[in-house]
Symmetry: C2
Subunit: 212 residues, 2 copies
DNA sequence: GTCTATAAGTCGATAGAC
DNA sequence: GTCTATCGACTTATAGAC
């Protein structure tokens, strides 16, 4: 709505995003936001009225950012292999800039407060989420050319595709607690992941459907 | 520690597990647990002393249940294909009985309260988590027989394997809010998923590593 | 063991001086 | 616009009667 005029307002908002990302709505405290922003707690209410309103603003921004990260990564690149590669590289590079985003979205949606419901209902009405039509088309083409198995379930495949890319970000806290050495090379792991996901998925759908 | 003697004690614990699963530590309220268990709020403190202690007990149980779901699903079945199939079927069937479990673990670990740290440190000391050695061995064997590409990164593959099975449970709230019709057939989707994951992953690692 | 009533603490929100 | 002080709602926890 209103422009973010003051620099202090932007400062608060930027810190609040971080705190909500890390802790979620219930875990986030106005006091911590104020402390980390270097301002008084009263300032938060002066600029943003209430915790609910501050959260609503941030949830909407972050949720759209997440959905757009996925939707915008679907781009036709000529053939299935290139389109797959582009999606995988793009989504991983986008999410690595806000690695807490997937878990934040999953957590807040699973709790499902009123702000969450309203935001999604509003977004469903105006800004219809893009379906991954590009990948669906490429799959159909590849099937007809005989490039991939014609019995492939496209919904399951997209689930596997998106999941394989997002899963590391969702599972990071779990993996970190058990195998901390894996996360020390987090950036390397993500780079290698791009290649690994492409190879398994692309050659996976090229293989013949011999076995049940 | 102590035996769960009273039936009322078991009743409270069973309800508390559900509430913590749904809402996490910060979202769960003692009042709601008492109401849903049909007892007085004071009873909760009589039996479990404090919210922290009740949560600690439940977190430890649920975290172990989750880790064991994964570890126990790794079983040698003679060859790679059968071992993969068994893992996929087993982990999905176990998790479908407590579908909120993966998201609960991810959420609580990402927040990382003192109870969480203590529990994991204790488990790391005594009950060393099983590594998926069985799958690693099968992969090595299959490589030497030339059944699968020798350049396959086993860590990335296990990431993809476990992730592809767990991801639907983590992403369910997100998918449900955007494509509710997909979740209406949740059970069917999970059954189809077993087959889809096996085919993509097994034929994926059998494919030749021609392209970068 | 079970309940009511209430203490004690936390957190969001605001009043009011500057 | 900014700060201090404080209010009031909510939540955990306990005291004490039965």
């Amino acid at each position: 709505m209103a422009e973010l005029s003051t620099s202090k307002e932007k400062q608060i908002l930027s810190v609040a995003i971080q705190v909500f990302l890390e802790r979620g709505f219930h875990g986030a405290k106005m006091q911590e936001i104020a402390d980390r922003a270097g301002v008084n707690k009263a300032m938060l209410h002066y600029y943003f009225r209430s915790k609910d309103r501050l959260y609503a603003m941030i949830f909407e921004k972050l949720f759209m950012e997440f959905m757009n990260s996925i939707a915008d990564s679907f781009e036709a690149e000529g053939d299935l292999a290139l389109t797959l590669k582009h999606f995988i590289n793009s989504i991983i590079d986008r999410l690595r800039q806000t690695p807490d985003l997937p878990l934040f979205v999953a957590r807040e949606l699973s709790w499902g407060g009123p702000v969450v419901y309203k935001t999604i209902r509003r977004m469903l009405q105006k800004n219809r989420f893009k379906t991954p039509q590009i990948i669906l088309d490429e799959i159909e083409n590849a099937k007809q050319r005989g490039e991939i198995d014609s019995s492939l379930d496209p919904v399951q495949f997209i689930f596997t595709l998106v999941g394989s890319c997002i899963y590391p970000f969702l599972a990071r806290p779990i993996v970190e607690s058990i195998f901390p050495e894996l996360i020390e090379n987090w950036e390397t792991l993500l780079e290698q992941r791009k290649e690994a996901v492409f190879r398994v998925l692309y050659y996976g759908i090229k293989g013949e459907g011999t076995n049940a």
